[in-house]
């Protein structure tokens, strides 16, 4: 019963090495967080009209940011990156440089901002905040360092506004991806989303499905969870539902060039899901005849999973998971500054030697078309 006696990972202490597990080759970090510190951080990217709107109402910004990442929770900012006062890790480029870029020298990092605009129901405010976040990402991050790339965000409820925003900033050379929170108003394979995918394909962008978001109703099929940890681990069912819908609707057959990154969702559960989908494809293929390939083949061609959180089991079990999944499906991510207790050294030790460079950099380089 090694699992039960396994010592609890102690959260990393300040000053420990960058979270690349001692890997000395090239690193491309596919999930690094940029998180604006409330509406004031966006102030200069908002028009006078929206500043007045926000001031009059005492609006604090999207409520789903603190419910998705409670600021004081250890999972939101790891102990080793937590400051006693002042701006927190993730909120400013200078902190990222100190915490991650200088000690680890990653070749590229992909910045993801969970903007929470999905929790804004006022359609025009949602657009204003979205635009401000993208302009903030470009001005205060992308233009500061050539190693940075970013996911742009889109308003989550009005399809035409999503398309317009992609056309507004999607061709910026630093923008490589559009972020889609895993919780959403509708499953991402649905036909209403097609114009959004056509827009991002026009700009050569990746679809990045990431933890967080707001559903039209509870974020599970059985009502509202109670505890944060309960909801957090249970987010798995949303990733499963989204991927099932996306393959069932034939999204990748309609858009053969569409690439999708699955971020901050883990990956150890993916072999089991692929087995289940393949089995049902054999049994129910006549009900979804446009699914010409087994879902696992669609996964292999179009999807990549970030390594964080690793959610590691015992090393021998992780080795099995890697064999079943295929290491070519993984792209390294630190998920800075979040804390999952990830042990990247252990992950590297169970990866086949010839796959380590691919997981740490090369697969992401090709997937995101990074130089």
């Amino acid at each position: 019963m090694s699992l039960l006696t396994r010592p609890r990972n102690s959260p990393d202490r300040p000053g420990t090495p960058p979270p690349t597990g001692g890997w000395t080759g090239p690193v491309i970090d596919t999930d690094v967080h940029a998180q604006f510190a409330g509406v004031p951080a966006l102030w200069e990217y908002l028009s006078p009209m929206w500043r007045e709107f926000i001031t009059e109402r005492g609006y604090h910004g999207p409520y789903s940011i603190p419910t998705t990442y409670p600021p004081q929770a250890l999972s939101t900012v790891a102990a080793r990156w937590r400051r006693e006062s002042g701006p927190q890790a993730g909120s400013a480029f200078d902190l990222l440089r100190t915490d991650l870029l200088e000690p680890g020298s990653p070749e590229y990092v992909v910045l993801n901002c969970y903007a929470g605009v999905d929790s804004i129901r006022h359609p025009d405010l949602a657009v204003a905040i979205t635009r401000a976040v993208n302009d903030w990402l470009i001005a205060e991050w992308l233009e500061r360092d050539d190693r940075l790339r970013a996911s742009m965000v889109i308003p989550a409820h009005t399809f035409s506004d999503m398309v317009a925003e992609i056309h507004r900033v999607g061709s910026h050379p630093g923008i490589v991806q559009v972020l889609f929170p895993v919780r959403a108003q509708a499953l991402y394979g649905k036909r209403n989303w097609y114009p959004v995918y056509e827009a991002l394909l026009e700009h050569g962008l990746v679809m990045g499905m990431h933890h967080g978001g707001t559903s039209d109703g509870p974020p599970t099929a059985c009502g509202w969870p109670s505890w944060y940890i309960e909801e957090r681990v249970g987010e798995l069912q949303l990733y499963q539902s989204q991927l099932t819908n996306i393959v069932a609707e034939g999204l990748f057959q309609r858009y053969p060039d569409l690439r999708m990154a699955v971020l901050e969702g883990g990956f150890t559960w993916v072999p089991s899901l692929m087995w289940r989908l393949d089995k049902d494809w054999r049994g129910l293929r006549r009900t979804v005849p446009w699914m010409r390939l087994p879902p696992s083949e669609v996964f292999r061609e179009h999807l990549r999973f970030s390594t964080a959180p690793i959610n590691a089991g015992p090393p021998e079990e992780m080795a099995r998971i890697i064999e079943w999944l295929g290491p070519e499906m993984l792209v390294f991510a630190s998920d800075y500054p979040h804390e999952h207790g990830d042990d990247v050294a252990q992950l590297l030790s169970v990866l086949p030697a010839q796959s380590r460079a691919a997981v740490m950099a090369e697969t992401a380089r090709e997937f995101y078309r990074l130089g």
Binding site: M1, S2, L3, L4, R8, N9, P11, A73, L74, R183, A186, L187, K190, S215, D216, G217, P219, T220, A221, C222, G223, P225, S226, W227, I229, E230, E231, V233, G234, L236, Q237, L238, Q240, S241, T244, N245, A248, E249, T268, W269, P271, S272, M274, W275, R276, D278, K279, G283, L284, T287, M291, N311, A312, G313, P314, E317, R320, E323, W324, G341
Partner: protein, 364 residues
């Protein structure tokens, strides 16, 4: 005549009630309501239609026209053909559309009682091999507890209560605690089976489009249910509570346990009420059934998947199920890989279920 060991237990066979079958068991007022308004609770079959009526096998439709509607037909086609010693019935309408939602609770209560009376009368009454899961209005625990008490007073062949995987709240919520009190009182397991009371959506991000998604996704809400029961501390309050996940798969369990364990390492202080680790709750309180059997991409990976599951402490926690009369039925003769060791096979096909439910030896 010496009794012999039970060699085949089927932990998931469906009896499927229909209006004409239930009418004799309903009070006049509710019989009239059923005839006039029908059942208004949304059933998933109406949202994502299955590939066949009742998702039934083509050859499993008896003269009444409803697969799973005729106990003698089911006995001949399944129990007799394969020598099933004991089979547990999960009544589909009793667990889905009759369990409440867009109907008056008193009507749903009458429907559940009628379903259970029909099962006792027509199924238990026709063959000693049938056992049953009490069909309950699980989102109204007071009604559910009363129905469990009523059924247990009438027949001890009720061996557990069945709950749809999609409930109004995740099942560790305080709302459901009276149910755990009653189940542990009778030492009856709680069985989760795919389905729902028609209260919520089929996913946490809205409705899927196709039956393929509904069917492939049977395990997804179980993730929420397990997470809820673990982190709400249900198993500290009811240390003898047993949970059976029916038709929910099992190869996902190990990665999910690691996911919970990793989260505990970082966020455990939020749930300081817990007395144990998530992995311990899983190992002590959960059982799983086989159908639809896991089929890894390469058949040789099956052994590894089963080993991974067993190493969680879930040795002897897997129980054969056929899902008769559904289209994705697993035959007792074909469900398990043929190269599985005899003792493992025996454990899955009979011994684990016999131990869990207290099934004894049978007369020869």
């Amino acid at each position: 005549m010496n009794p012999v060991a039970i060699s085949l237990v089927d932990t998931d066979v469906h009896n499927i009630s229909y209006t004409d079958a239930l009418l004799p068991y309903l009070p006049q007022r509710w019989a009239e309501r059923l005839r006039t308004f029908g059942v208004r609770t949304r059933a998933e079959a109406d949202v994502t239609p299955a590939l066949r009526p009742q998702a039934g096998r083509h050859d499993a439709v008896p003269p009444c026209g409803v697969a799973g509607g005729d106990p003698v037909f089911a006995r001949r086609q399944h129990l007799d053909m394969f020598g099933v010693d004991i089979a547990i019935l999960n009544n589909i309408p009793g667990q889905i559309s009759h369990s409440g939602g867009n109907d008056p609770v008193v009507f749903s209560a009458a429907l559940e009682a009628a379903n259970n009376d029909w099962t006792m009368d027509q199924w238990f009454g026709s063959d000693p091999r049938w056992r049953g899961s009490v069909a309950i209005q699980y989102d109204n625990p007071a009604f559910a507890v009363a129905e469990i008490e009523r059924c247990r007073a009438l027949d001890d062949r009720w061996v557990q209560a069945v709950v749809g995987t999609r409930t109004e709240r995740p099942f560790g919520h305080e709302k459901y605690w009276p149910l755990f009190e009653a189940l542990t009182h009778y030492d009856m397991p709680l069985a989760f089976h795919p389905g729902g009371s028609g209260s919520g959506q089929l996913s946490g991000a809205g409705w899927p489009s196709y039956y393929f998604e509904n069917h492939a996704g049977y395990q997804y809400p179980v993730v929420s249910q397990v997470s809820s029961m673990v982190f709400e501390g249900v198993f500290d309050r009811w240390p003898t509570l047993k949970v059976v996940v029916v038709e929910g798969g099992w190869s996902w369990v190990a990665p999910f346990v690691w996911r919970m364990e990793s989260a505990m390492d970082v966020l455990g202080s939020e749930v300081s009420h817990l007395q144990r680790r998530p992995a311990e709750y899983l190992a002590e309180h959960f059982w799983f059934t086989t159908q639809p059997m896991e089929e890894p991409t390469r058949s040789e990976w099956f052994t590894g998947a089963l080993d991974q599951f067993s190493r969680l402490g879930l040795v002897e926690r897997l129980m054969f199920s056929s899902d008769y009369p559904h289209w994705d039925y697993d035959s007792p003769a074909e469900a398990l890989p043929h190269d599985l060791p005899t003792d493992v096979r025996q454990s899955i096909m009979a011994d684990t279920a016999a131990a869990l439910y207290g099934f004894g030896r049978r007369a020869r």
